[in-house]
């Protein structure tokens, strides 16, 4: 028998989370899930881990959708599935109920970063710092562009992006708690 996740529905349920978290029309579709498991069966990450999937991912996509409906905020935000999802949209494409599973996952990650900075993966923090420091995610290979007779890139857009991300509050959002 598999070990059940210990739940206290009086204590663990967060009604504010159910009612308030979804800012996009896409993510609101999670209410239509009827647990057919199509999303989980089509997920490349679940397929990769096979019998280890639960151990590696905590909640599988269909379980995640159900936990969202139950309002189990901490359980949902702490699941590894959020950070290992490749956002390939396989689940979303084939969901018979039109649930935008990937978009729900995106919104859960937004919420985790806003309220539980301890959960933000190192790679994601690194991405944000790179974007803030350089205005792009990777360095331009100028010599190769020259060899291939490609136009020079001035970097003017990169500087504008850095300024915009500053105005939007990205530096504050990714700051580590207590630092």
């Amino acid at each position: 028998m598999e070990q059940a996740i210990p739940l206290n529905m009086n204590k663990d349920r967060d009604k504010g989370f159910i009612n308030g978290m979804f800012s996009s029309i896409q993510a609101q579709t999670s209410a239509s899930c009827f647990q057919c498991i199509t999303c989980t069966n089509g997920c490349p990450i679940v397929l990769n881990y096979r019998e280890q999937a639960k151990e590696k991912l905590d909640l599988l996509p269909h379980q995640l959708m159900y936990a969202v409906r139950l309002g189990l905020k901490d359980l949902v935000l702490e699941t590894q599935m959020l950070w290992l999802c490749t956002e390939c949209y396989m689940c979303t494409e084939y969901c018979p109920q039109g649930v935008h599973v990937c978009d729900v996952i995106y919104e859960l990650k937004n919420l985790a970063i806003k309220e539980r900075k301890d959960l933000m993966p190192r790679g994601l923090r690194l991405f944000a710092h790179t974007l803030l420091d350089n205005g792009r995610t990777a360095e331009i290979m100028d010599w190769e562009r020259e060899d291939l007779e490609l136009p020079e890139l001035s970097g003017a857009g990169d500087a504008d992006l850095q300024e915009l991300l500053g105005q939007l509050g990205l530096p504050q959002l990714i700051e580590q708690e207590g630092s």
Binding site: T86, I113, L124, L148
Partner: protein, 289 residues
């Protein structure tokens, strides 16, 4: 023929410049005009959306607004940029209140997006604007007995409503490959994830996903993989090489970018197509003419 603002994103100028070079060359041959917009930036990709939906929308809207101000639709080479900008465009066109809110954030920069432009992928431009018949007429060195594992990946085709991919399973990339005389094999993983998006989060997982695809393409006796996205190309080229050196698993399945495959069949300059810029040698392609 149509004109487009060419959108490069970050990954191509950093890792796959030969994709841009070969794409510019073939599109020029077909009379598609490309304009470079100096102020374009990073698209605001998957990791930014993971951090903040609002920032994702605002960064995307900024890029869309720049093209709109020039009266141009956008053509992306990268499937990631294509997915991001298509998604932002979809949200802002559907929801005028959301567009107003996001435009407020662009106000300090003196910009606004009116929801008037279209976003296309390079493959869509070839398939829809240029057309298969026109492409076929320009093939001077058709391939013979070449088996290609055509790789759509995720974001050129999903979510289908947002990227406006009409056929499920999709056929447009297979048709483009077949136009060169090559065969497009019916491998099962052609529209599955390459693993590229998790490369930063979990390299072992990215390598696992890549290996699954390589093994599948190999099982279908493919001679080459063919891609149209820098992330997929990096996975199948550099990461395949890393899988061989780190894990000792060799697949010997080179990956060619679609504009390189097309450009060679159109007898274009191999140096400018960047044939030698691939990590895993493409030399064996010469045995298929």
């Amino acid at each position: 023929m149509q004109s487009y603002a060419i959108f490069l994103g970050c990954s191509i100028p950093a890792r796959v410049n030969h994709y841009e070079a070969s794409s510019r060359m073939v599109l020029k041959e077909f009379g598609v005009d490309l304009f470079d917009i100096e102020l374009f930036s990073c698209c605001g990709p998957v990791p930014l959306r993971s951090i903040s939906f609002e920032m994702f929308l605002t960064v995307g809207a900024r890029n869309l607004a720049l093209a709109e101000a020039e009266g141009l639709d956008i053509m992306c080479l990268c499937s990631g940029c294509f997915s991001t900008l298509s998604d932002v465009n979809h949200q802002l066109r559907e929801d005028s209140q959301l567009r107003k809110d996001i435009n407020k954030k662009l106000e300090p920069a003196g910009m606004a997006y009116g929801g008037k432009i279209a976003v296309k992928h390079f493959l869509n431009v070839l398939h829809q604007d240029v057309g298969i018949d026109t492409i076929k007429k320009r093939i001077v060195r058709p391939y013979k007995d070449l088996r290609i594992a055509t790789h759509y990946g995720c974001h050129t085709v999903r979510p289908s409503k947002i990227v406006q991919s009409s056929d499920i399973p999709p056929v447009f990339f297979d048709e483009l490959v077949k136009a060169t005389g090559a065969e497009s094999v019916e491998w099962s993983a052609k529209a599955a994830c390459c693993g590229g998006p998790v490369l930063g989060a979990d390299e072992e997982l990215a390598m696992d996903l890549c290996e699954k695809k390589l093994a599948d393409a190999k099982a279908w006796n493919a001679d080459f993989l063919c891609t149209s996205c820098p992330f997929c190309q990096v996975q199948f080229d550099s990461i395949q090489a890393k899988i061989a050196s780190d894990r000792g698993n060799t697949y010997d399945l080179p990956s060619i970018l679609y504009p390189q495959l097309l450009g060679l069949a159109m007898d274009m300059d191999t140096d400018l197509l960047g044939i030698d810029n691939n990590r895993i040698s493409l030399d064996s392609i010469n045995t298929f003419f």
